[in-house]
């Protein structure tokens, strides 16, 4: 495969995100919906980078978004009067990446030595464990959380602060989604992706072939976690100006990440995008028709997908387009 051909699948991804962005910007009053959809897509893209490629389920995934949101909240909360201006956001994103990097390295170093079921068991506690560490040891204000609405105003001025919450934070969510998609494609087309595919099919065989499976698993795990951290920093901290441990370590976001990926097709590039949009739109309408029933409807949907069509929508589409010119674009 020629080098340019390798990266052709990025075109439909970029077109789709551009369309979503245009929908939000051009049609008045649709920005919030578009950015909410972008959040689901970004969550799915980042989650898919690990779960889709390795076949491991990380039930503690939301913890990375949680520490990321603290990474953004802390500098704004403590340094708002230092006159750093917009550099605070840069520092926040950097800290979010660092926090999620450290947590994922620590968790990965332990959990990724374990396989399948044992891995899932080890990760299920990460989220709760970290939340209770923050609450129990009263780190970062403990269970009271951080409220920094006024700090945002001091740091950026009233108008800029409002613009950040209403537009910039959402714009950055789009950026995270696109970066996550590009990272996924780069991994898929390079050694990491090939190694992980081998691992997903048969871990022992991959090991015997001399593939350092732990190294590649950790690479995917950390990349996925750092993206989640930045997503938490922008989509939650910057947007809502508060961080409560009980909110940012809410396991429902892990469920949403799983649904987005499965609806679209685990391990595909377009999957999380398609899944995120299907999920976001149906959740939006369900909230209107049957408020409070969303999870009760989506949980059986997950089971139905796993039992009836485990490849997801994009997975099925991928099979359909084999042999047609579209083949190069859809993976």
């Amino acid at each position: 495969m020629k080098n340019t051909e390798k990266y052709l699948p990025v075109i439909p991804v970029l077109v789709a995100y551009a369309a979503l962005l245009a929908y939000g910007v051009l049609i008045p009053g649709k920005w919030q919906i578009a950015s909410q959809l972008a959040f689901y897509c970004a969550l799915g893209q980042a989650f898919n980078l690990f779960m889709g490629m390795t076949g491991y389920v990380d039930f503690g995934y939301v913890a990375f978004l949680g520490v990321g949101s603290y990474g953004m909240a802390l500098p704004i909360y403590h340094l708002s009067d230092k006159g750093l201006g917009l550099w605070l956001i840069v520092i926040g994103i950097f800290l979010a990446a660092v926090f999620s990097f450290i947590l994922s390295l620590a968790v990965g170093a332990v959990a990724l030595r374990l396989r399948g079921a044992y891995f899932a068991i080890a990760t299920i506690g990460v989220n709760e464990g970290f939340r209770f560490l923050i609450e129990g040891a009263r780190i970062w204000n403990g269970s009271e959380g951080l409220l920094f609405f006024l700090h945002m105003r001091t740091a950026f001025g009233k108008q800029t602060a409002t613009a950040i919450s209403n537009y910039w934070a959402d714009g950055m969510v789009f950026a995270v989604a696109i970066v996550a998609a590009i990272m996924t494609l780069i991994y898929m087309r390079n050694k990491v992706g090939y190694a992980l595919t081998a691992l997903r099919e048969d871990e022992d065989a991959a090991k015997v072939m001399g593939i350092n499976v732990t190294k590649y698993k950790i690479t995917a795990f950390i990349t996925s976690a750092v993206l989640a951290g930045i997503l938490g920093a922008t989509a939650w901290s910057l947007k809502y100006s508060y961080v409560y441990p009980s909110d940012v370590f809410e396991i429902h976001y892990t469920v949403e990440a799983i649904i987005n990926v499965l609806l679209g097709g685990a391990g595909t590039l377009l999957g999380p995008l398609v899944g995120g949009i299907i999920y976001g739109v149906s959740k939006y309408f369900l909230a209107i028709i049957l408020p409070g029933f969303q999870l009760l409807i989506f949980a059986p949907v997950i089971i139905a997908i796993i039992v009836l069509f485990p490849e997801g929508t994009v997975g099925m589409l991928k099979k359909k387009v084999i042999g047609t010119p579209l083949e190069k674009y859809i993976i």
Binding site: M51, L114, G129, L133, F293
Partner: protein, 295 residues
């Protein structure tokens, strides 16, 4: 003073540990026979708690009557879930059963939320309390522990003395071998899944006899985590290992609570939960096959 407090809490931990142990046997049974991790474990415990609550509040029946009802509810749920989903996923990747049991838990939580709202509730079963000097044990706690030990004993006898139990054990050892010897492996899978869920739901009733407050649809999360720690302590695939793991865990939990409470500026309750998570990671790291090598 501190020593007295610690020993008092350890006695409480021992009693609670028996209930914890019983609450984990279902998880280990399902993993042992089907190699499926029930991620919705805590939600099943929650269903048991609501069974006890509902029977107490609605009919004024003591939680002891809720035990058989919970067993029936749990076994029915287990059978339905096994035949509708798990059975078709056993040959697939591990991811499939993990996600399926996880969703099963979410379904239980959301259904209960629709039926009973997400309010935190509790009940008050007024039974005499015994002051044994260093701590106070209520009769309901003792009944919960005795009930747990009884269930564990019954399970032991069933596994070792009856043909049905031995057939199930043969599936744990080697399912192909069992199939060759004429054991209906599919039925054993269904039965153990249903029995496992039944035991777990029942344990929810016993747990509310110990802690009758704080019942809400999402109470299961911490129990899932605790059950995983306990199951891993006991070697994951062995129900008896799980029982002893529960006792150890009860002791460690209450002991660490007492110690954390002595550190100023720390919320001992949350720290205890963090500690159980650290314990899980450490055990998985050093001995994933279990610390207690019970039969």
């Amino acid at each position: 003073m501190i020593f007295e407090q610690l020993s008092g809490n350890l006695i409480q931990g021992l009693v609670l540990g028996a209930v914890y142990g019983m609450a984990t046997m279902g998880l280990s049974l399902i993993f042992g026979v089907l190699k499926v991790v029930n991620v919705g474990h805590g939600a099943c415990i929650m269903v048991g708690a609501y069974t006890a609550l509902f029977m107490f509040k609605q009919f004024g029946l003591s939680p002891l009557f809720a035990v058989p009802v919970a067993m029936i509810i749990g076994m029915t749920l287990g059978l339905i879930f096994y035949y509708s989903a798990i059975r078709r996923l056993l040959k697939g990747p591990e991811l499939a059963t993990l996600l399926a049991t996880f969703s099963f838990g979410v379904i239980l939580e959301e259904t209960i939320k629709q039926l009973f709202t997400s309010e935190v509730v509790g009940y008050n079963w007024d039974l005499p309390k015994f002051d044994i000097g260093i701590t106070v044990l209520s009769l309901s706690k003792i009944l919960a522990a005795v009930g747990s030990i009884l269930v564990a004993l019954l399970l032991y006898l069933w596994f070792n003395k009856t043909r049905a139990g031995m057939a199930m054990r043969s599936v744990v050892e080697d399912d192909d071998g069992a199939r060759v010897c004429g054991v209906n492996v599919d039925w054993e899978y269904a039965l153990s899944f249903s029995l496992g869920i039944g035991l777990t739901v029942t344990s929810g009733v016993l747990l509310t006899m110990f802690i009758p407050v704080g019942i809400n649809p999402y109470m299961g999360g911490p129990y899932t985590l605790k059950a995983f720690v306990i199951a891993v302590l006991g070697g994951l695939a062995s129900p008896y290992g799980a029982f002893f793991g529960g006792v150890v865990f009860g002791l460690v939990e209450n002991g660490s609570y007492t110690l954390f409470a002595m550190i100023p500026g720390v919320e001992p309750f949350a720290m205890t939960r963090f500690f159980s998570f650290v314990m899980l990671l450490v055990i998985l790291l050093i001995r994933p096959t279990g610390i207690l090598k019970a039969k």
